[in-house]
């Protein structure tokens, strides 16, 4: 499908969630390269360090120590070289307020953390496929909003 593996970064403080996420990415057909950070501070350090390749999609947990996902989102959208990264919120919250608010702040995708592995795989597959269409088919990224349960 594409020559280079897709670059994925997950910011999440929960170790089980990170493992679950990693396994799901290993089982989908599309080739990916998954990296992790454990909190908001570490995420911003990672993104600001120009030695690191920027992710194609950033999965962002809202509830993290040191710096919350929402603070990171706002900071990323204000930073010139980061503001075009596709951001998928990956959260346990399903409050309509959180969802709408993160979309308004510039998130592209909102995923309610699923409790079973197959749903997660299905969701990840959909995110990666739709993202790829946006990447290759001249779709307008400003209009890219996707909510998955």
């Amino acid at each position: 499908m594409q020559k280079n593996a897709l670059h994925i970064l997950l910011a999440d403080d929960d170790e089980d969630d990170r493992l679950f996420f990693k396994d799901a990415f290993e089982e989908i057909k599309i080739q990916t390269n998954v990296n992790f950070v454990h909190d908001g501070m570490q995420l911003m350090d990672h993104l600001m360090n120009t030695d690191n390749k920027l992710p194609d999609i950033l999965f962002l947990d809202l509830n993290m120590p040191k710096k919350t996902g929402k603070e990171c989102l706002i900071e990323i959208k204000k930073t010139e070289h980061l503001k075009d990264i596709i951001i998928a919120i990956y959260s346990t919250s399903s409050s309509e307020e959180d969802i709408e608010d993160t979309f308004i702040q510039g998130a592209n995708i909102y995923i309610k953390k699923p409790s079973d592995f197959n749903t997660l795989k299905k969701i990840i597959n959909e995110v990666v496929t739709v993202n790829w269409h946006y990447h290759t088919s001249g779709l307008n990224r400003d209009n890219f909003l996707l909510r998955l349960k």
């Binding site: 308004i104 269409h133 290759t136 088919s137 909003l145 996707l146």
Partner: protein, 183 residues
């Protein structure tokens, strides 16, 4: 002052491509569908040069035959979805006639390369057009549903919600607030 600008992606792309090729002194003819025939032999270095120059705007030289066909399918779908009389065509017939392959073959190649189906891609494009029309805010949802060949507003709303996870009105509200937020 706020202006909404309509533009034609095809024209922009062809124009940009033409200017770049001319700047590089390359003689060429366009064959449509993003296909270009270069008249003289150009060396690998000049070709690489051109690729690097075009890359920042998202242009990419497609090298694999199946990917070429998939790109043609996508272009034809976009053409169909953005036509104003698209109601007159059945998509499978349109694609088969346009690309001179059976729909079954096209559908297999598309799924093999993209891991998704032609039907899904058509829906994605229709919803994309609906989004643009909603943002421009000149038409009611009923008019948009008719233009895009949905049997009813409910049908459009359902497909919009299934594709994006949010309703058309939530979409409109979010984009509006996001813009205000950017100011």
């Amino acid at each position: 002052m706020k202006l909404f600008i309509k533009f034609d992606i095809n024209t922009i792309c062809s124009l940009y491509l033409k200017q770049n090729l001319e700047q590089n002194n390359i003689n060429f003819t366009t064959l449509g569908f993003g296909e270009i025939e270069i008249e003289d032999n150009i060396d690998a270095e000049a070709l690489d040069n051109l690729k690097t120059k075009l890359a920042p705007c998202g242009f990419e030289v497609v090298e694999n035959q199946k990917s070429v066909l998939v790109q043609k399918i996508k272009d034809a779908i976009i053409e169909l979805v953005f036509m104003d009389d698209s109601n007159n065509y059945k998509s499978s017939v349109f694609l088969a006639e346009k690309l001179n392959h059976s729909y079954g073959y096209l559908s297999n190649v598309f799924s093999e390369v993209t891991y998704s189906s032609i039907e899904n891609f058509i829906i994605l494009q229709k919803i994309e057009r609906a989004k643009q029309l909603i943002i421009i805010n000149e038409m009611s949802l009923t008019e948009i549903a008719f233009l895009l060949n949905y049997s009813s507003v409910a049908h459009l709303s359902t497909q919009f919600k299934n594709t994006t996870g949010i309703t058309p009105s939530a979409f409109q509200r979010i984009i509006k607030k996001r813009r205000e937020n950017l100011k």
